[in-house]
């Protein structure tokens, strides 16, 4: 029982956080700014996630979208399941239960001095934004910040608070946008995200790719990076799984010997290469 002498209740006990502001991102996604009621900071690393509770209804894992360099924390939530649908009905001042932060985030310390190539598809942009903002806040610690961002259509591009700055090149983020299908007003790239990779001019020794997107995106993105002679050891991926308990117990997120909620959601590519069902 020595394991339980210190704070034995914390495993499944959420803390309350209050919604300070809600921004509509797209038709399906809302963006929540939150603060913990006990006044503490979440203390997360970019790439980690929290278990969000609607007490009485249930819990689901949500990526943290803000950088730990900012006050409070932010979540971007797609209306896709029972809990997230209910979350979309909430208003500023309402409370959520929060457990976490959980899992392994991006290795922000190890990647100091590197050029960062972010490759985000759809809602995969949410955890990437945490690291992008971290890197722009600690600008001197990192080299180039390149962002490839693919959305299904122009309407589905996330209008994060700093997105206009990225577009204007203000934050030193080299943004390359593409959409699967354009509309009348769209003048940018049309095509899947992998079409943005071949023309990139990058230093292969110095650049690290950080990928997050829908399951189908990983395989093709890895192929495109391989085509560019990108080193496998320079690739990190954030994976989605059913991380029900968040603490490595319930079994739903297991990828072979790994628990995505503990050993991930961010994996170094050599860790999971060749593992069936991982990618």
């Amino acid at each position: 029982m020595a394991e339980c002498a210190k704070n034995p209740e914390s495993l499944y006990l959420p803390r309350y956080a209050t919604i300070k502001k809600i921004i509509n991102m797209t038709e399906a996604e809302k963006f929540y700014q939150l603060e913990l009621d006990d006044g503490s900071e979440l203390g997360h690393q970019p790439g980690q996630f929290v278990e969000v509770s609607l007490i009485g209804y249930g819990e689901c894992p949500i990526s943290i979208s803000s950088s730990p360099t900012a006050k409070g924390f932010e979540l971007c939530v797609r209306k896709v399941g029972r809990i997230t649908e209910l979350m979309h009905n909430l208003k500023p001042g309402d409370k959520l239960g929060i457990r976490g932060p959980f899992g392994k985030g991006f290795p922000v310390e190890k990647l100091k001095g590197k050029d960062l190539l972010f490759i985000g598809g759809g809602i995969g942009m949410v955890p990437l934004r945490s690291f992008i903002n971290y890197a722009t806040d600690k600008r001197k610690d990192y080299g180039r910040i390149i962002l490839l961002y693919g959305a299904r259509s122009p309407k589905e591009i996330f209008n994060f608070p700093e997105f206009e700055d990225w577009k204007a090149g203000k934050k030193d983020v080299e943004l390359h946008l593409t959409v699967d299908r354009g509309d009348d007003k769209w003048k940018g790239n049309v095509g899947v995200i992998t079409t943005l990779i071949p023309p990139l001019k990058i230093d292969l020794e110095k650049t690290v790719a950080i990928i997050c997107g829908p399951p189908v995106m990983y395989k093709f993105t890895l192929l495109a990076l391989e085509g560019k002679n990108f080193k496998e050891s320079n690739i990190y991926l954030s994976l989605e799984r059913r991380m029900k308990c968040g603490v490595g117990k319930c079994g739903h997120c297991q990828i072979h010997g790994y628990y995505c909620c503990q050993d991930g959601p961010v994996f170094h590519y050599p860790q999971i290469k060749g593992i069936k069902e991982a990618l």
Partner: protein
């Protein structure tokens, strides 16, 4: 180590005393064919010569359904983790070596990383009294090395015919043994106890081709064998019985329930199964184990590869035979292990 011989005629009186020491559970007949662990009221109900029970003793530490992990009040916003310690000591009487090994494997999992203090509190408040067993044609504990009659037990009973040799391995066990009317054990009693222990697992001689320590590597090399897709993936009916009855399966689902007063409620966990189609499904519909072959392989690999290598040693299948005994499609661990062994061998040559 303290030991003594308890005559079977004195056994009932001892059980009556054990009942006063906590909540006493033991094997009872449930139907003609099946046994279960249940609360002991009358010593006469005990079926200590049972082969196996439907559910393993994990049910006392991780209840099958509605195990409360959080209580809440929607009006006040209060949230509380319920008391973790059981009201009374959990005393399990008549536990076989395989099931004890199962509990020891579970201990590893619940302790590791983020310790689950509810489980650990229940285990800390438990006393386990083992017994020699009466194997049937499904048992194979010797093949996976779980015929250990000492590790984890507080007290162990060897059936000598007219009496039991009781060996206490812990202070808790000694305390319970002191409640029994005992006589001194002779050399012959020790030898008869040894013989009773040997009977375990070996009697029916289930065929199990690989050595247990070879299995992690066989799993690694056998991922692409057609047996998964063409044999087990097709036969498995995805009912989840094998994981329910497994002494080392502990995956769970979580849900919130609100009472009729619409104010109070609780968050509970219930057993889940990796054999069910929706086990890995996320909101949006993606399933990361997309077919039954993958799910079958996952279960077997979790027993012999993933957790074995993670915890560095023992197999997470303890050879109790429950999954094979209960499977409607007649899939068993020995059959799977044998096909894997032969498949990998054929692949190499």
């Amino acid at each position: 180590m303290k030991k003594g011989v308890i005559a079977k005629k004195d056994f009932g009186a001892w059980v009556e005393k054990l009942k006063k020491e906590g909540q006493l559970f033991g094997p009872k007949k449930r139907t003609d064919k099946f046994y279960h662990f249940d609360k002991v009221e009358d010593p006469m109900e005990l079926a200590l010569d049972y082969s196996s029970t439907i559910l393993p003793p994990k049910k006392f530490f991780v209840p099958p359904k509605d195990d409360t992990i959080l209580e809440f009040n929607l009006k006040t916003g209060d949230m509380k983790v319920p008391k973790m310690e059981p009201d009374k000591e959990i005393i399990l009487l008549g536990i076989h070596a395989c099931d004890m090994q199962g509990l020891l494997r579970l201990d590893l999992c619940w302790k590791e990383g983020n310790p689950d203090c509810t489980y650990l509190a229940r285990r800390a408040h438990s006393t386990i009294i083992g017994i020699t067993c009466n194997p049937d044609e499904y048992c194979f504990c010797t093949k996976v090395g779980s015929n250990n009659f000492r590790e984890g037990f507080d007290l162990f009973l060897s059936d000598l015919g007219q009496s039991f040799l009781a060996e206490a391995f812990t202070p808790k066990g000694e305390k319970l043994l002191a409640l029994a009317k005992t006589s001194e054990a002779s050399m012959l009693d020790d030898e008869l106890a040894y013989k009773a222990k040997l009977k375990c697992g070996n009697e029916r001689g289930v065929e199990f081709l690989p050595k247990v320590e070879e299995l992690p590597l066989l799993c690694m090399n056998g991922e692409d064998l057609p047996m998964w897709t063409e044999d087990f993936g097709r036969r498995c009916l995805a009912c989840g019985t094998c994981t329910n009855v497994c002494p080392t399966c502990y995956c769970f689902d979580v849900k919130d329930d609100i009472d009729l007063n619409l104010t109070t409620g609780r968050r509970t966990r219930s057993w889940d199964s990796c054999q069910l189609e929706g086990f890995t499904e996320v909101a949006g519909g993606e399933k990361f184990m997309h077919d039954q072959a993958t799910r079958q392989k996952h279960r077997f690999y979790r027993k012999f590869r993933y957790l074995t290598t993670k915890f560095g040693g023992a197999a997470f299948c303890v050879g109790c035979g429950r999954c094979g005994r209960q499977c409607t499609a007649e899939i068993s661990v020995p059959e799977t292990a044998n096909k894997l062994f032969l498949g990998v061998k054929a692949q190499k040559s």
